[in-house]
């Protein structure tokens, strides 16, 4: 093996590709920024976030699960379209949960469109 400029460029290029590919793959599994419920504000509309709180109320309307998340003197409405049975079992009144979703505005009110939810003990 000759140590010259060509080798330098080839190795560097291979690392660029390998690194970028790994970043893309790993970022699919990464979690978004964690926010306190009080930090969910209008200027964050469109942001994907992770937050947690207690469920104050929960009901199913036309295949959409709507629940109220509460914590640190703040509350926000959250929705899941076509929830699974597991989600219906988890997201019940009084449960402490962590949700990942996008902040949206619906009929003038902020809400979290939830993608993933998990129970916390």
């Amino acid at each position: 093996m000759q140590f010259n400029d060509t080798l330098l460029v080839r190795v560097s290029f291979a690392l660029c590709v390998a690194g970028l590919f790994s970043i893309l793959v790993l970022s699919l599994f990464s979690e978004p920024k964690e926010l306190d419920l009080s930090e969910v504000r209008g200027e964050r509309i469109g942001e994907k976030i992770l937050t947690k709180g207690f469920i104050k109320s929960s009901f199913l309307v036309k295949g959409v699960l709507v629940f109220q998340l509460e914590g640190n003197e703040s509350k926000i409405k959250a929705v899941i379209f076509s929830p699974t049975q597991k989600e219906l079992d988890l997201l019940k009144k009084g449960a402490l949960v962590e949700v990942i979703g996008t902040i949206k505005k619906y009929r003038g009110e902020l809400e979290i469109e939830v993608e993933k939810a998990r129970g916390l003990k």
Binding site: V11, F13, C16, G19, I23, S27, S30, K33
Partner: protein, 396 residues
């Protein structure tokens, strides 16, 4: 999926911080902390990519301009020798090879390194002050004559007192910035103003590098980086100094590979030390600690970012050195150094006001003493080492 965007943005900022003398990644990291909310992992990736790319690019001004930062100042002398022979670009490429291969070896050894530091955390903490005292002693003993030994002790004493006064009393914000510029950048620039030399035309050729020079230098840099990342206040330059004391005389080419490798390897390992022990060994790691606590998936993303930036930093530095080498040789070296000096003083004033200027000029006078007396310039690093020793022995 904003991660790749932040990684690329960080890499571009790393080129900027590497190229502009006096602008360090720590300065940008501080700005990131000041203007953003904590908890955003994308900012962590930005800091990681900026820091790794910076470790490559900062050899361009240090070799081609003689304007180093705290991590690359020892490269001035060997790099300058290459520059004056018209092969400054080759000197930069040797540091790039060191960074690239040293970085690759360090990424490969991350699991082993992680296990080692996690299992030996207590023992490492215990030996830190003793190792630092030994390094200081070695620095004095390695001076050639008795006269130089006494002068080295004097420089160490003055540097330590300044370090203790400035670092322990919150005299200024970001004190290390003013001290590094004062101890290393300003004296070098002042001295280069004395010289009427012009930079010869630089040869931009496809270089061949000795296998032994590159491989041995990179491997040594891996050990050097591991030393630096474990012991606070020992920088890449001291690690190169320690290694060169345990080996036969290291040739200039290998020394440049070694410096380039230690610089990058140290940065890579500082992220692992942060994850494993929660300790910060670089300004970048300290900024990340302020932003958030890392989980294992995020650590994997950081390693992937490092891999990308090793390649990106190497290609960018090679291209930039080739493009800029002759631009510098066409310029008036004296005027250029004068402009850099003026720019650095302006930065010091901007960030620290008159207090910053006072700290930098005091440090400069100690740095100048070191040059005039012909003692090793690493002696000035006592400004960081002695306050660290004091902290580990007496907790203050």
């Amino acid at each position: 999926m904003n991660e790749p965007f932040f990684v690329l943005a960080g890499a571009v900022i790393g080129i900027f911080t590497g190229l502009v003398p006096g602008i360090h990644v720590n300065t940008i990291s501080l700005l990131v902390l000041a203007f953003t909310d904590s908890g955003d992992f994308n900012l962590v990736l930005l800091i990681v990519s900026m820091s790794i790319v910076h470790t490559f690019v900062d050899f361009v001004p240090s070799v081609l301009l003689g304007a180093p930062d705290s991590d690359s100042f020892l490269s001035i002398l060997p790099g300058h020798r290459y520059l004056m022979k018209g092969v400054g670009v080759k000197a930069v490429k040797l540091t790039v090879f060191g960074g690239l291969l040293g970085g690759m070896v360090s990424v490969g050894f991350i699991p082993l390194y992680f296990l080692f530091i996690s299992r030996n955390a207590k023992a490492i903490t215990f030996v830190i002050p003793f190792v630092l005292v030994s390094v200081l002693g070695l620095m004095v003993l390695k001076e050639e004559t008795k006269k130089k030994k006494i002068r080295a002790v004097t420089v160490i004493f003055f540097s330590s007192v300044l370090g203790l006064l400035v670092l322990k009393n919150n005299f200024v914000q970001v004190p290390v910035f003013f001290l590094v510029i004062g101890f290393f950048a300003i004296p070098t620039l002042l001295f280069s103003l004395k010289s009427s030399k012009t930079i010869p035309k630089q040869k931009i050729a496809r270089n061949q590098y000795g296998k032994g020079t590159v491989l041995h230098g990179s491997l040594l840099s891996f050990f050097g980086g591991a030393i630096v990342s474990v012991f606070p206040s020992i920088g890449p330059n001291q690690a190169a100094f320690i290694i060169s004391n345990f080996l036969e005389r290291i040739k200039t080419g290998k020394y440049l590979v070694l410096l380039g490798g230690i610089n990058t390897t140290n940065m890579v390992f500082s992220f692992i030390v942060l994850y494993a022990l929660g300790k910060t060994r670089t300004g970048s790691a300290a900024a990340i600690k302020e932003l958030m606590q890392l989980n294992s998936l995020q650590m994997l993303l950081i390693i992937a970012t490092v891999v990308f930036c090793l390649g990106f930093g190497a290609i960018a530095t090679k291209l930039i050195a080739e493009k800029l080498a002759n631009a510098f040789s066409l310029m008036n070296y004296r005027k250029m150094n004068l402009s850099v000096l003026f720019f650095l003083l302006l930065l010091v004033f901007f960030f620290g006001g008159f207090k910053g200027i006072l700290v930098s000029l005091t440090a400069s006078s100690i740095g100048l003493l070191s040059i005039l007396w012909g003692t090793k310039r690493t002696n000035s690093m006592a400004f960081l080492m002695v306050p660290t020793i004091v902290y580990y022995f007496w907790g203050v």
